[in-house]
């Protein structure tokens, strides 16, 4: 039986939901704008939303006028400061996450499926896990200097533990009925692992990946504040030195939207990979 999600696509319903979503943010923006305009709050402390928006546009737009002899149109369109920063941040998150998750996944699979490995590694992991990645900043700089390497280190550390812990519990919590059914069919060894245990553990593993990306995104902003000279995290710290509070807020909003986009992307990938799963009504 296919269960249909209650979707109501009448225009009136869409309008109602849009109003519902925008009501509170719009009210707060209006309040904020009024307070700034009336001079209740100094624009140095909290610039008005319109000023932030103008700054954001300025930040996002190309610095030079378009010159066909120099660059292509697309390259020109992305030549502004914000696109560069955003790309640098995305690049660091991606590399750091791939390293962290790439190490955590095999270790987690091994620890989840082999009791002796679990017994060997678990004590160490339980000690290291509570240390926030940020506490590694001094060591990261000492070991890797400045630039991308310490950033990659911190980001991968942030992604590592959520992926590891979830992979371990995913493998350990595989419903025994699947194991029995597979044994009955004749599955052993690598077939059992790759075609039964691994897919049965994917809901857990993907949850770990989604949390891991979230932590990695926090880590990238922090890492950019100390060791590099571009990226969104660097830019908002730099703006503070010039008292550009409008640029700080514009940068923060960009970080917010980027984080949202990354999470939505992960959700979409998860939904596709777990399209067989009961809890997804599609």
């Amino acid at each position: 039986m296919v269960v249909q999600a209650p979707t109501n696509s009448k225009p009136a319903e869409i309008a109602r939901r849009t109003v519902q979503i925008l009501l509170v943010p719009a009210f707060l923006l209006l309040l904020w704008e009024t307070l700034s305009r009336l001079g209740v709050i100094s624009p140095q402390i909290l610039p008005s939303p319109t000023r932030v928006l103008l700054k954001w546009i300025e930040y996002a737009c190309p610095l030079e006028p378009y010159d066909a002899t120099q660059t292509g149109r697309l390259a020109w369109l992305f030549s502004g400061e914000l696109p560069h920063d955003a790309l640098a941040t995305i690049f660091r998150v991606t590399v750091g996450f791939l390293i962290g998750a790439g190490l955590a996944l095999p270790l987690g699979l091994l620890m989840g499926s082999t009791k002796s490995f679990y017994a060997l590694f678990n004590p160490l992991i339980q000690i290291l896990r509570p240390i926030p990645p940020i506490a590694y900043i001094p060591l990261a700089i000492l070991w890797f200097g400045l630039g991308n390497p310490p950033a990659f280190f911190l980001i991968s550390l942030g992604a590592f533990f959520p992926v590891l812990m979830n992979t371990i519990s995913g493998v350990r919590n595989v419903d025994s009925i699947y194991i029995r059914a597979a044994q009955n069919i004749g599955a052993t060894g690598s077939t059992m692992f790759l075609r039964v245990i691994l897919p049965a553990a994917t809901p857990y593993i993907l949850t770990g990946m989604r949390v891991g990306v979230g932590v990695a995104f926090i880590c990238v902003i922090v890492a950019e504040m100390m060791a590099v000279n571009n990226g969104l995290g660097f830019r908002i710290l730099e703006a503070r030195e010039y008292f550009w509070s409008d640029k700080i807020i514009a940068g923060m909003i960009t970080i917010g939207f980027l984080g949202l986009a990354i999470d939505a992307g992960m959700d979409k990938i998860n939904r596709h990979l777990l399209r067989w799963h009961r809890s997804l009504g599609c």
Binding site: M1, V2, I177, Y178, R180, A181, A182, Q183, N184, I185, G186, A187, T191, R195, V196, P199, A200, T202, R275, W276, H277, R278
Partner: protein, 270 residues
Amino acid sequence: MAEHASPLVLVEKVGKIFFGRQRQTLALEDIDLSIGQGEFICILGPSGCGKSTLLNAIAGFSLPSSGRVVANGKTVTAPGPDRAMVFQEYALFPWMTVAQNVSFGLEIKKLPPDEIRKRVDALLEKLHLREFRDRFPKHLSGGMQQRVAIARALALDSPIMLMDEPFGALDALTRRNLQEELLRIWMEFKKTIVFVTHSIEESIFLANRVVAMTYRPGSIKKIIPIDLPYPRENSSVEFIRLQQELTQLVMEEQLRHQKAETAASCESDV
């Protein structure tokens, strides 16, 4: 009967003890059963009587504490595809489509892809699942899922089929449909079926012999041959007589069970 000539499944003096934290439970005691080629055996008893334990011993999921099970001429030491199992909870792999579930066992046997496709198609056709071949199990009703589980078991091409209350969770109509379907399959493929159930009516409808079990420790109370011709009519005089006889047997055990429970709870109260 044929089973004396060449038993396909031989249960010899099987006993099973479960070791709990505080006490041990004697689940099976001294079970002797010989099942011949092509027989349809129903193991009947109240829940907790050890009928699933007996089936698991034959399947190899949980080996007996004493005695042994011989299936296909070999002593059972582990689960294997020569004793295909159909579980009450269907146990389909939810990440595989209907066709993938059915073909998994054949891929493990390393059959050529053409052969696998041919066999899977034939089985899906047989069980009226053709238009669902690329669906995931979650899109199917319970009855459909159990059809897929039966197709998956048939694909293994094993002489023995073990079924653990396979229709227990289905509504009456679907249940009857699948019972009739199973009888057709049993006759066509000449399977030997060991079928666990707590439904008296189901056991008379299906089996050549009904093995009624006692309650804890589980042992064989009585084996009742059912010689009615198929398809069976549950309103026939003989059917009703058998139903009464088996009800009597099961009730006796249920009463014994209740007395034991009461006695146990009194003990713990003191």
